[in-house]
Symmetry: C2
Subunit: 339 residues, 2 copies
Amino acid sequence: MSIKKVAQLAGVSTATVSRYLNNPEQVKERTRLKVQSAIDETGYAPNTLARNFRRGRTSLIVVVLPTVGDPFLENVMRGIWRVADEQGYSILIRDTQSNSHEFDEYTDMVFSKQADGILLLASISPFEEPTGKPRASNKVHPPIVLGLESVTAELNQFPSVRVDNVAAAADGTHYLIQLGHQRIGFIAGKRNSLLTHDREKGYRKAMRKAKLPVASGWVVEGEQTLEGARRATRRLLSHKERPTAIFCANDEMALGAIHEIKNAGLKVPEDISVIGFDDIRYAEIMDPPLTTIAQPAEEIGERTMRRLCQAIEGSDGDSEAEIVPHKLIVRKSTANAPR
Amino acid sequence: MSIKKVAQLAGVSTATVSRYLNNPEQVKERTRLKVQSAIDETGYAPNTLARNFRRGRTSLIVVVLPTVGDPFLENVMRGIWRVADEQGYSILIRDTQSNSHEFDEYTDMVFSKQADGILLLASISPFEEPTGKPRASNKVHPPIVLGLESVTAELNQFPSVRVDNVAAAADGTHYLIQLGHQRIGFIAGKRNSLLTHDREKGYRKAMRKAKLPVASGWVVEGEQTLEGARRATRRLLSHKERPTAIFCANDEMALGAIHEIKNAGLKVPEDISVIGFDDIRYAEIMDPPLTTIAQPAEEIGERTMRRLCQAIEGSDGDSEAEIVPHKLIVRKSTANAPR
DNA sequence: TTGTACGCGTTATCAT
DNA sequence: ATGATAACGCGTACAA
């Protein structure tokens, strides 16, 4: 009963107050002043709840990501926020704690009007199939855009923005091969992450192309964490055919790998070269500075968000994947193969 | 018109459907089944917008923080999320991009019902005074809890949870002094950050107590970034009375400092000791591993969130600050003073 | 240019 | 245990 009070105080109708708020140009100067002073006096703030309800939209976007505090995602978020601010959306962040969740868990947020759209930056691979009862077919698919990751079969109907992870990883691997490395290990992410799986695919592809073998035990799981990568590295170091170079599916793991290699009394890059993926800000200050593959994080954020806005407005063109360019950044953690 | 459809299809009233949804125990088994099958058939999902509107609450909490992708805040967020999930709140994250904002900008979110409460983890120092017109006094102060930071005069009416930054920084400084350091530099955060200002206070306090001088130029601004810390470090290194130890107001800056010191051809800790604050996960894998002061991040998150829930429910007890314990973690970036 | 009046989907109150 | 209905605060079609 708030707009009413203002109206009463200003001696106008609620409709006029509403118009003053939303289409000021439709109300006469003199009236405007009256309304404004009534608003000032009461300290009135429009009830967003009622407004959203009436308008049928929340102006809320849910961004689903594996972990906050990922320095790479920070940059992506920056791009997302820029567009969100510009378009009047607020960002709701859902951390999946690196677990995979049911697809419905997120889409329901749209169907129940908790949010207008969803930005999926998470590991989405094994979205468990909807439990039992099939989702009612009278529901159209909600506004969803995928960022960073490739998509599973069930998700390829949605637009996505990402680098070509296969090609990028192949490039990185190729670079190591050019340096003369023949025994190259790979530290993968979690089993359910399509993204790191694609990078592994790129690695294998480049190895195959160079006619180099991938010995059993050269590809290990690093769990996308510092600690997981350290464990993985230890396994690699004790391999009977120890690699002279290690490709890590992301920088976080590369940092862990470098640390562990040095701990073992070996030198990077003299004994073992290490290459990462993402170019997070810590890559450069590592000792040695990390060679890595950079993604245009902020741009990815911007573009996913823009596509989502389009999808919400229904002006959703095609659902093709947008591929953005990656770039190899050579620093000091890679060198010619030893001997 | 959706609950209506379900009601119609199930041959009951909307009230019954609503009850089934919110207080299932109040509806008879037989009716429950009818309603459930109607829901299944229609794929009905309650409109959260309408529900929130009716109930007068959003179940949304806004967390205001300086930058996402801060590895320390990640841990705080983890604690916040745990409580939020448990209490049925969703978390809206606002990144201030390390700038300070007007206080109203956030409180308005509560007054306009965009959110039920606010968790302030950001640099809040110079909340510019409300512009001109004083905020209408008929507004009670909204549910706000402060985390990590101390408070300005205008904010000390709100509960807060944090470590004793002054004491903690004094402890760290004292540790360096014990190691025989006499020339100790300090890399501060941004000028408007009360938090790092408190840490600087602790540093100065410990120096004073040990009767050690703080030469002009020994306290430099590091902007809370890797890059800013590197610049600050360069200035410290070129000081005519170069410090033999550097206290950094947080780990992020400590990492930058170590990198820059090594870049300059000096050794940590042989030539210069470095100590940080926060104990982020990268502290341990740095070369050398970083000595730092740890905060119970997750616990801080949990406790701030719990207090906020209380504040929202109105069972807000006192607004005293909760102080949680800090802890010095000695690793390899500190050693006895040279010579 | 402004006012009247209805409806958005839900929950809650009061009967039954 | 269930049904009828008022109310939440706002936006807007329509009338004036």
